[in-house]
């Protein structure tokens, strides 16, 4: 037996005797990636939030300061931007939940097995097209000579001019993130045995009562899971406000973009990102209270 083979054998035996070592070896590359790329960049972001920039050269001044945060909390404009972003995220989440509930119920419980696949494919279909193409499509629908105003004038309805308004943003966001709400709710509905609904009906419960007392507790985690997607995706977006928003449509993301790219003020942008992270952390905490992670 050669030396090389013997070493290999001994190594294999050592690994076999120590399962934890095997685990560590398998896990260490992704763990390193997680620590270095993900957590380290987050730490760098949070630290940067406490620096400032030299007014003229745009170089970062490595001096610890609260100035960025005090500016965010004292200047009313940032309050307005943060509030606008959060309200829009909440509105979009509610809208998507209201649309997704009956739709997901229909796919999971009423549609036949074959049409179920077709419906699910339809839900995913928009995700195959580029995000930008879909937003521009909505500009074409909503703007002055677009599809919607043309349709309205044909039907003799009052003509709306929704492009470049916050209403347009609400419509577009609700459209963009709808699949992310339908899928988890559909999953939750699928886990509800039909027999439960039948039992509820047999025992004399009405539709509304069954919905509230039997269905709702079982699908709530699905709704909350979907809402995490719709809420966070809206919260972090800046392209839709830029493309279809009006003159008062800036989101936190736009403020970050402005200070990082246009203003060259990375520390201030980092401080704003901190706010986003904090809002999301609060939301995840509330979602956890509502039991969104119970299924994990």
């Amino acid at each position: 037996m050669s030396v090389r083979e013997r070493t290999r054998q001994r190594l294999g035996a050592a690994l076999w005797r120590r399962p934890w070592l095997r685990g560590a070896l398998i896990l260490s590359p992704p763990l390193m990636w997680f620590l270095v790329v993900y957590l380290a960049s987050l730490v760098a972001l949070l630290i940067t939030a406490f620096f400032s920039v030299n007014e003229l050269t745009g170089n970062i001044v490595y001096q610890w300061t609260w100035a960025n945060f005090s500016q965010i909390f004292t200047q009313s404009v940032y309050g307005v931007i943060i509030l606008r972003t959060v309200i829009m995220a909440v509105l979009v989440t509610i809208t998507d939940a209201l649309i997704a509930l009956p739709f997901a119920f229909f796919i999971a419980k009423i549609a036949s097995r074959r049409s179920r696949q077709a419906f699910l494919a339809l839900v995913f279909l928009p995700l195959w097209a580029s995000y930008l193409a879909r937003v521009y499509a909505w500009i074409n629908i909503l703007s002055n000579h677009g599809v919607l105003p043309n349709l309205e004038s044909h039907l003799g309805l009052p003509i709306t001019n929704l492009a470049y308004t916050n209403v347009a943003m609400w419509i577009v966001f609700s459209y963009l993130w709808l699949p992310f709400m339908i899928v988890p709710i559909y999953g939750a509905f699928e886990r509800v045995p039909d027999s439960l609904l039948e039992a509820s009906a047999d025992l004399g419960a009405g539709t509304w009562f069954t919905f509230r007392q039997v269905l709702m507790p079982m699908i709530l985690p699905g709704i909350v899971a979907g809402s995490i997607f719709t809420f966070s995706l809206t919260l972090g977006d800046f392209i839709t406000p830029l493309l279809i928003g009006g003159s008062s449509s800036n989101f936190i993301g736009n403020a970050i973009y402005d200070s990082a790219i246009n203003g060259g003020d990375l520390p201030f942008a980092a401080a704003l990102a901190f706010v986003s992270i904090a809002i999301m952390a609060i939301y995840l905490f509330l979602a956890r209270l509502a039991g969104a992670f119970d299924a994990i």
Partner: protein, 397 residues
Amino acid sequence: MNRPRFLRWFSAGAVVLLLSSFVVPIAFSAPAGASLGTPPTQGDKTPTSIGKGEGKLNIIAWEGYTQPQWVKPFEKTTGCVVNVKYAGSSSEMVSLMANGGGHQWDLVSASGDADLRLIYGGDVKPINMKLVPSWSEFEPFLKSPSFNTINGYHYGVSFEFGPNVLLYSTKVFKTAPTSWSVIYDKKYKGEISIPDNPIQIADAALYLETAQPKLGITDPYELTQTQFTAAVNLLKSEHPLIKKYWDLASQEISLFQNGEAVVGAAWPYQTSTLKAAGAPVNDTIPKQGATGWADTWMLAANAPDPNCAYKWMAYMSTPKIQAEDAISYGETPANTLACPIMNTLEKGGCAAYHANAPQSYFKTIKFWKTPLTTCDNGQNDCVGFTQWQQAWTQITG
């Protein structure tokens, strides 16, 4: 309730992150940045001749400045392969040049509002104008303009320029508006569109120069706190009238095409694109004059390919290339000999892009420059760029 373990780890990690963010910054403390003095690279030696090309050239440029039409012949004759990175804003150019450590890039086609930041940031260095022969044919006011020449040292060679014009719908305005006041007029509420750019504060200041002479504004880029506040307040009062602050050139074009905006601030490029598409629009420079851009090829302080960079600057200054860019981009060349060539490229091209305009026309354009806290009059009471940026967020927020 089964509490997932990863959540506990996650929260523990978050606490560590938070704590470290409080501790680490103290270790990094360093003195605040230096004040305005002589540019850090003023003493750098300039070459006396252009040596053999390095075989490559990395530049940061505005989209449209590196058309194959003139890049291909350049690569062929000099052997310098051109790599280009497009920048979307002046500030992006500054941060690219500053953060790359200066070893990545050779040249940047910076606009006047970025120039001083690059010069005083030590990101660019002086050049020897003797190596750019066509410089002698330049418009006199672009030979040593204050936005790229300090203490007699040239931090780059001027390229092309153009005005920010007043764009209007000819359906709404039978005759050209003569004053910028139309973009602050309640009559056009919801039909006005201006660029989403802090330098727009200078446009408001330019209007106030004559509208409110008591403010004593003489330079729209050097504003005292009172003058600055007046300009910002004007823009805040304009906010409810705005349909959209445009970020992309194409947005302004579609706004006017759909009739969603009827008047606004724009570039000549948008006017010509709209006219070519048959839209009923025109542009004008009102009686107050206009702001404008003037771009400069600037040499990075640590340019790895200086010979190719000099070859490029010399090449881009020649009448032929200046004419080609002027027609293709829709701006005015610095080289006075470009005019006849423009006419051969496009009938009436020279006049269309003002290449033969009298000196009085150029005087109506106030070229973008970096707003600094130090004013030209030696006082230190001007408002600097960071405040411009923050005020713009206040206006558009």
